[in-house]
Symmetry: none
Subunit: 245 residues, 2 copies
DNA sequence: AATATTTGTCTATACAAATAGACGATTCGA
DNA sequence: TCGAATCGTCTATTTGTATAGACAAATATT
């Protein structure tokens, strides 16, 4: 049971007392990351204040990135952004698991595509080479955090979409084709406004920024195997550039 | 150097931020007990706020008994009341020293007086016996805390005023006359409004309450040696009635 | 498709907080 | 004794806080 109280005339505004109560409840785990907090009306009734006063408290927490409000749905705890360290060996599932979160992922699309000049250069293939283009959605604790598009040579990994569709793991899918290890060669990072399709998948609003990572994975002998373009919800993940451990 | 800051529009009233700053400064010892804190104008300039805002902060601390304002003089840290335990052996200097404070005292008056019926009964002497009446002011850490009037048989302690005037100690003065030990027999406690003369000596305003202690000190064989009427500033000392240790 | 729920925005009102200025009351030192 | 310093009180104005009500916009439910 919840016995918190707010006091009037103390020189501390009601909205601030409510904001601090909510912040404490979230920190204590009463409302889990990504979960819903009580509605404005409920909180207002709970403390016997006007809804506008609650709204101001919530606005302060939204400004701090602690809450996120969705019109018509409710107000949610904005999960702390997941750290995404960029190293030579970067495996999404390992990164996420090491932060006590549960990663899931699924293939949202798959198509054949001919390499254009850019992709051909990146993958060191001839222009027009047939590639798999695989669309992926990565989810952490039920919250979608990034979408990625990967291009992989079709002739070298003919049944990759099937294996990836089963395992949801590039590491496993490439291993089945004889690539036991791979590492990140280069990563370029930029920021863009989210595209419509990505926004739908990530549950973001138009106009939100995304981090865009363009990376090339190579086998230990330096041969490119995969070109990936990743779009990360900037409010849910943050990049960490670290020296090699 | 002092780097504290106050922020506007945070939902915490300026007066409260200032009050908490002052409270912290006092707790940290920046302004010592009984000492002066900066003037309203200085604090207002320090934080770039209006003097009225500072006044509200100070009013809150006065209500909490932490500060005390004297018109025309300044605002002072209200010393925490000194505990004054009542036991059989009560020595002002020992009590005060044990509370990490520095006691001083001085005789403020001395006169001869004949015992009236009341004093004669208390001291077990005949009515009309010549007594010394000695007025004493006790000060702790520079702050006057009590005034006392003591009556002692003159023929038994003929040069007591001289000795007390030198030593400011009844214990020593009585010892010189052969009374090695004495203890408190009875103490009556009451509360009155302060008298004009006492108010001047204690630096209190008219209308302030004082604790009045009427006590009789006796030698180990039970013979009365001293009758004392003590007036204590109620906001600077508090009585503690304890069982004998 | 209709309805209920929930957040977003707007207007209006009342009260608290903070500012501004003036002047009185008390104390202290020159 | 005078004036400066300091706290006490008063009026007036502006800004921040909180309430009240209405309706729009998006979502979820039936």
């Amino acid at each position: 049971m919840d016995q918190a109280r707010i006091d009037r005339g103390t020189g501390i505004a009601l909205w601030r007392q409510i904001a601090e109560w909510l912040r404490a409840e979230i920190a204590a785990g009463t409302y889990e990351a990504g979960g819903r907090v009580p509605t404005e009306a409920e909180i207002a009734a709970r403390f016997e204040v006007n809804r506008h006063t609650v709204r101001r408290a919530i606005a302060a927490l939204i400004a701090d990135g602690i809450l996120r409000a969705d019109q018509g749905r409710g107000t949610f705890v904005a999960s702390a952004p997941i750290s995404y360290p960029i190293r030579r060996r970067t495996r999404f599932s390992e990164i996420v698991s090491s932060q006590d979160k549960t990663p899931t992922g699924r293939m949202t699309g798959c198509a054949e595509e001919e390499a254009d000049a850019f992709l051909a250069a990146q993958l060191e293939l001839a222009v027009g080479t047939l590639l798999w283009r695989i669309e992926t959605l990565r989810v952490v604790d039920g919250l979608p955090v990034l979408v990625a598009t990967s291009w992989i040579e079709k002739s070298r990994f003919p049944d990759l979409p099937d294996i990836y569709g089963e395992t949801n793991s590039f590491t496993l899918a490439l291993a089945r084709a004889g690539v036991d290890d791979y590492s990140r060669r280069s990563t370029r990072v930029s920021a863009e406004l989210i595209e419509r399709g990505d926004a739908l998948q990530l549950g973001l609003e138009d106009g939100q920024p995304v981090l865009v990572l363009d990376s090339v994975n190579v086998t230990p002998d330096g041969r490119p195997v995969q070109y990936t373009r990743t779009r990360m919800a900037a409010d849910r993940m943050q990049l960490v550039i670290e020296p090699e451990a």
